[in-house]
């Protein structure tokens, strides 16, 4: 297996492609966190009093909390006073009215990312909201969506344009008391996306947000809130990148989804934050709280994630299945290469009758990567005839990496069904040799095998994203087989 190992190694040694820094004119808050900083952020955004109060409550609560350490991840202490909690490209005066007026440096940055906003608007039919460091810089397609009553804007904008909606739903799925990072986010969140689909409306296009951390020693704390009213449908995509930096950067986002009766929300993430270098230096700490509330009868929430980046990933996109017959889904591909660590999975809390959930998790470990699946399936007393199916597969490449599975089950009624399947396999010499004996190069063979392994999840992504995810996986694992 010598040649095979070499192939895996080479395959994983590919450099991070989004590691450049854009030279933007930035406005940065002083380091550290205090009530003053929270007030400053709120003031910068000319927020209403209630929101400032909410932030301050969150901040005070955060002070009483401790950073969690139960996850199967290891990192040095984070100095929360050394981080800049607000950084934004300096606003143009007056504010840009169209994409043409956006800072050319910013636009070229998005072109490097492969997202030309203007092109996106014209051709692809995907509406994009782009968030750089802390601030949303461009939202496309807004007018067309507005005609249908759909609100798709930056979070800050929504606070002004639709304060009643924001106030009604903010923190209802992930309260600021939820956990350490959610509390931190609630105190200092700077921007993110807001999306509201009114009753009976099917959003005619994919909505998409690209997040980008650009400034040094800053944290990114975005907050996304999506509400689908009765019978509404929306498919939402998010993509993330960051420059290469020697120091670790913190990213603590919160995403809340709310689906009312017969509503459906699909949320897909392709996460490619900078993972650190081959020795494990630098990279993003991706500590994220994502939760969906399937509040209405027959509502449905679906999470799909392809996690290839970040030095450390700590996230559990979850569903609270409150409405009768509601459904939750979680499809995940998580890759850990070099010294990356991931502790990720989901929580499915069944409360309503006949609720159903599906969990498909594919973990890939290469190099010295450590990949943990952690999942909770909870069947409350009220969840009569609820059903869950979980499948957790791990693929190992090489002999220095690890795969771990931590499934938790809590069943409080007698009519529920819970199924759990798990496999761990190694990209075998046998598979690799078989492919080679048919003329395939080892690196092509690895791509083939890995994509086959992830197929169930890729099928859940919208077409363009599936292609992107496949390529990303190839790049992430370039140089690896075993």
């Amino acid at each position: 297996m010598k040649s095979g190992n070499k192939a895996v190694e080479e395959l994983t040694q590919q450099e991070y492609k989004h590691g450049w820094v854009a030279d933007l004119d930035m406005e940065i808050a002083p380091r550290g966190l205090s009530e003053d900083i929270v007030r400053l952020i709120s003031k910068k955004k000319t927020e209403p009093e209630w929101l400032l109060e909410w932030r301050l409550k969150a901040y005070r609560h955060w002070l009483t909390m401790r950073e969690p350490h139960w996850a199967n991840i290891h990192y040095g202490p984070i100095d929360y006073q050394a981080i800049h909690y607000y950084a934004a490209p300096k606003p143009k005066d007056p504010a840009p009215k169209s994409l043409d007026e956006i800072d050319p440096e910013l636009r070229s940055m998005f072109e490097k990312l492969g997202i030309s906003l203007a092109e996106q608007e014209r051709l692809s039919g995907v509406a994009v909201d782009a968030v750089v460091d802390s601030v949303s810089v461009a939202t496309t397609f807004k007018t067309r969506l507005a005609e249908l009553g759909i609100v798709f804007s930056s979070f800050s904008e929504a606070v002004h344009s639709h304060p009643e909606l924001v106030r009604q739903y903010l923190g209802t799925v992930v309260p600021y008391t939820d956990n350490f990072f959610a509390a931190l986010n609630s105190a200092v969140f700077s921007d993110g996306s807001f999306c509201f689909i009114p009753k009976g409306v099917r959003c005619p296009m994919e909505l998409s947000t690209y997040f980008r951390i650009n400034a040094r020693e800053t944290g990114q704390f975005e907050r996304t809130l999506i509400v689908a009213e009765d019978g509404a449908y929306v498919s939402y995509l998010e993509g993330c990148t960051a420059p290469m930096r020697d120091e670790n950067q913190l990213h603590a986002a919160v995403v809340e989804l709310i689906a009312l009766d017969d509503a459906e929300i699909k949320y897909a993430t392709v996460q490619n934050w900078y993972p650190g270098d081959k020795e494990g230096k630098g990279g993003i700490y991706n500590f994220v709280t994502k939760r969906g509330l399937a509040k209405g009868t027959n509502s449905k929430i679906s999470w799909t994630q392809v996690e290839t980046g970040s030095a450390i990933t700590w996230k559990y996109p979850s569903c609270i299945l409150l409405g009768d017959n509601s459904q939750g889904e979680f499809y995940s591909v998580a890759v850990c290469n070099n010294y990356q660590q991931a502790d990720t999975g989901t929580k499915m809390t069944h409360i309503g009758k006949n609720t159903r959930s599906t969990i498909i998790s594919k973990g890939i470990s290469a190099g010295h990567g450590q990949n943990s699946y952690r999942g909770l399936v909870k069947m409350e007393k009220t969840a009569a005839n609820a059903r869950n199916y979980s499948q957790c597969d791990s693929l190992l490449m090489g002999d220095q990496c690890g795969a771990h599975t931590f499934p938790y089950l809590e069943v409080k009624n007698t009519s529920s069904t819970v199924e759990h399947e798990a496999t761990t396999s190694k990209i075998g010499e046998d598979q690799l040799f078989y492919c080679q004996a048919r003329g395939l190069k080892p690196e092509d063979a690895v791509n083939l095998i890995v994509n086959g392994f992830c197929k169930d999840v890729f099928l859940k992504l919208p077409m363009e994203f599936a292609v992107e995810a496949q390529k990303l996986l190839g790049v992430t694992l370039e140089g690896t087989v075993g």
């Binding site: 598979q431 048919r438 190069k441 083939l448 086959g452 392994f453 197929k455």
Partner: protein
């Protein structure tokens, strides 16, 4: 086409092939028979370039080239095909997709244009008939959940699509019932051509009832101890391998 001279090979530090000689010309079908542990599968894997099979002496020339110096995928692209005794499962990768990738890799190596899905499908459908392959199996993942017979048939199908020049079949007949054996044999016969050579590695004579070899060789103790025509296989069937005790081979070294 293939010339093996004084081939010695080790697996896990143990010498398995001990001075094997074999000449195969194009158009010929050779059967290599031998008891368990005689080195049959080792020979197949050494020819295909499997790691962990260490060649310690000897040479193998294929179409005038040094076969042992080539990477496994290059051997495949040069036209060497190993039909596996235990074909490997690749979950999630559809059979046809896999085979298209393989055929295009071979075509690319030869400087030919890659086939698109439609052209490929034409070829595949044509060859499926040849080995009586169930098209439904082709939509499933590579060998996943296939019965033993289906796996072997799939190997012959791959061979038919890839059109190799030298086919090495490693106990393709083992584990097959008579019907499956006949289908596989028919496929092999259909692929016989004056331009193509075949090496059938087998434990039993029964495959040779359906595929008539030009030459039969007895492999014992890591070398060929007797060669002859088809009649040798019948003699083996009647008398077994006892007449070539392994001990003699040790001395012959």
């Amino acid at each position: 086409m293939l010339s093996i001279r004084n081939l010695h090979a080790k697996v896990g530090g143990k010498e398995i092939l001990r001075g094997l000689n074999l000449e195969v010309k194009k158009g010929e079908v050779h059967a290599i028979m031998g008891p368990n542990g005689s080195g049959k599968s080792t020979l197949a894997h050494v020819l295909a370039g499997r790691d962990n099979y260490e060649v310690t002496a000897g040479e193998v020339s294929y179409e005038g080239k040094d076969l042992l110096a080539m990477r496994p995928e290059d051997r495949a692209c040069e036209g060497v095909f190993l039909a596996f005794q235990y074909p490997v499962e690749i979950p999630g990768v559809a059979n046809l997709y896999f085979l298209k990738a393989a055929l295009n890799a071979v075509r690319k190596y030869r400087g030919e244009s890659e086939l698109d899905a439609i052209d490929f499908l034409k070829i595949a459908k044509d060859k499926m008939k040849l080995v009586d392959m169930d098209p439904k199996l082709m939509e499933r993942a590579v060998n996943a959940g296939f019965s033993g017979g289906e796996k072997k048939r799939s190997e012959i199908f791959q061979m038919a699509v890839l059109q190799p020049r030298l086919c090495v079949m490693d106990e393709t007949d083992s584990g097959l019932d008579i019907d499956a054996l006949r289908v596989v044999a028919e496929g092999v016969n259909a692929l016989r051509s004056p331009e193509r050579a075949m090496i059938l590695i087998t434990h039993y004579q029964r495959l040779l009832n359906y595929v008539k070899p030009d030459f039969v060789h007895v492999l014992q103790g890591g070398r060929i101890v007797e060669s002859g025509g088809p009649e040798l296989a019948l003699k083996l069937e009647a008398e077994g391998y006892a007449q070539w005790p392994e001990g003699n081979v040790e001395v012959a070294r």
